[in-house]
Each structure stands twice: as C-alpha cells, then as structure tokens.
Amino acid sequence: MDKPDQRLFDDLSSAEFRSGAEKGLWGLPSPDLLPEALQWPKRILWIAAAPRPNASERFYIALDAEGYRSVSPTGTFWDPASKSSLDHAKRPKGRPESRFAKVFRTDWNGGTAFYHPYDRVAAKGHDAWPREQPHLIWTSNHTIVDYLEEFHSLLTCGDYLGV
C-alpha cells in the first residue's frame, strides 16, 4: 500500500503537471531509462532546458521525496546512461556569480542537492533564507509543479550558458 507522502506525489496526474508536460517543459522518463527497482521515496523526472551548443535539451533529476508535501524534495542532476548522479562536468553551467550558478553550484554539499530554498537539505541549513526569500518557502500547499517550474525557469534563462 502506498504511503501518505507517496499518494500525495500523485500530483503528477494533476492538470498543472500534465499541462506543463504537454508543453514539453518537464516529464517522466521512459521506463527503459529508469534504474531497476526504483523505490519510493526516490523519483526521477526531467526538465527541459534552453538550447545551448553541445548541451542536452533536457536534464534528468533524481529526487528523494520523503515527507512530500510537508517538506520539499531534495536531489540533483541524474545521468540516465550511467544511472547515477550526473558528473559535475556534464552539469549545466551559468554565468559566474549569477543566481543560476549559485543554485546549481557543485562546490556545496558535494553537488548532491540544489542550493535553493525548494531543496529541503539546502533549506535546513540556511536560517536566513525564509527572511530573504519569503516567496520561495515551501509549504504543504506547494507541489512538485512549483519545484519543476522554478528549476525550468532557471534552465531557460539567459544566465544558462551550457554544460
């Protein structure tokens, strides 16, 4: 039987998720790309990125969604070829000192989480963020669509340079 947090992850069938998926903004990987026996709370999705030379037009993310939606997911980029965390060299890079570069930095926490209030590991260690970025404080009213839309916005912004 599904756990309560797993049932809530049924937000993937919401109109908002499906509408974004139809527009090609995000989606679920085909089953052949998934690791065998992917167990809850692990989930893998993809987010579209702006076209850049020699860069993929979508990035996969591996999330740990335990406690969803009371707490936000945590996770990072994932490589469907090696079925493991994406090498830092293959990750999207941003203009130095930009918000993009900060969020997707790999010199913090070993690059295992996004440096963003929507990542529960990052949020836990940054007490000032709720005051500085009140609009990005995760609540139980937030859904995976808020998470995907936020990172899709970054991956399509002008500060994204490629890999």
Binding site: S14, A15, E16, R18, S19, G20, E22, E97, S98, R99, K102, V103, Y115, H116, P117, A122, H126, A128, W129, E132, Q133, P134, H135, V145, D146, E149, S153, T156, C157, G158, D159
Partner: protein, 179 residues
C-alpha cells in the same frame, strides 16, 4: 460508432485547473455543466478557448492596450471550437483583467485576457520596460503588497479576487541565494 473523447485543461477564478474529458461532439456548455462549472441555463460566465499571447505582438510604443481574445459561444461543440488543438478553456466573469505593472517608478498597463499566463505578462513587461534581454529573466512578477510571486503557468483569471477584474504587480529582481 465510437465517440472521440477529448481532454482539456479547465481554468477558472480562484481555483486550480482541472482536466475535463468530453466527447468531441458534445457542446462546451454540456461539458462545463457536467463538470459543475456552470449551471444549466447560466449565461453570465465568459468562456475563453486557448491561452492568449496577443500582448507579445503589441508594438513597443503602444500604451494601455487591450487583448482582442473573444469569448466563445459555449453552445458550439468541442470539435467546432478546436479544443483538441487549443487544449485550454478558461471560464471567467471578467472580459479583461486590467493589469498594472510597476518598475523603476513607472507603471505599464494592459487589459489582458483572463486566459493569459503570468509568464506571458512577465515577458510583455520586461519588453515594455526595455530590460536587457540577458538579465531580463531574473525579473519576475510579484503581486503588489505581498511577497507572492505566482508561477508562470498560472492564468491571470486564476489570480483575480472575486468581485474585481484587476491585478497589480511589481516587477522585482530574483534574489540570489547566499550564505
């Protein structure tokens, strides 16, 4: 004969969108009545088909423009209304959402269709305020007097409070996480 089923995304005032299924030869009114969105015989609600992006084609010098996006006749079938192609239906009491966007001490105004996304409005505003395109995406819309920055896929009509047909945004710079 097998009926062709269509799915579409239904948006409305103060509510999350939902997925509606109906037969292609159903009228949009029948589908909306079944979904409990309108009552039989109710005519005062306006129904828009598709997401409106008209403002993006505005000439730069145009001030206080208004979208032409017309409400449809809900007595037509889904097929006739091209729902399978447009995918989004928006039911609203407002013909337009009069929107003001503040930045740098100035305000730009436009009467948007309720079926316009926040993303389109943000794009329009960045152009109207002549922001540098490389940095423009860091500027987002925040509802005036709040810290709320609605998601870019939200329709303006979803954000409007009942009894009003207007919205006010500030165009603000995203904060880079520090610490």
């Amino acid at each position: 004969m097998v009926k062709t089923e269509l799915e579409f995304f239904l948006h409305g005032q103060g509510a999350k969108p939902q997925v509606i299924s109906a037969a292609a030869d159903d009228t949009l009114r029948e589908a909306l009545v079944r979904a409990g969105i309108i009552k039989e015989g109710q005519n005062e609600i306006l129904v828009f088909v598709g997401e409106c992006q008209e403002a993006l084609a505005d000439p730069d010098e145009l001030e206080d423009g208004a979208d032409q996006h017309e409400p449809v006749d809900a007595n037509l079938t889904l097929e006739a209304l091209g729902i399978g192609r447009h995918r989004h239906v928006h039911c609203h009491t407002c013909r337009h959402v009069a929107t003001g966007i503040n930045f740098g001490g100035k305000t730009k105004r436009h009467k948007f269709s309720p079926a316009t996304t926040v993303g389109v409005v943000a794009q329009w505003a960045r152009r109207k305020f002549r922001l540098d395109p490389t940095a423009a995406a860091e500027y987002v819309l925040q509802l005036c007097g709040t810290t709320e920055q609605p998601r870019s896929d939200k329709h303006l009509g979803e954000l409007v409070e009942r009894g009003t047909c207007s919205l006010c945004f500030d165009l603000v710079k995203e904060i880079t996480p520090q610490g």
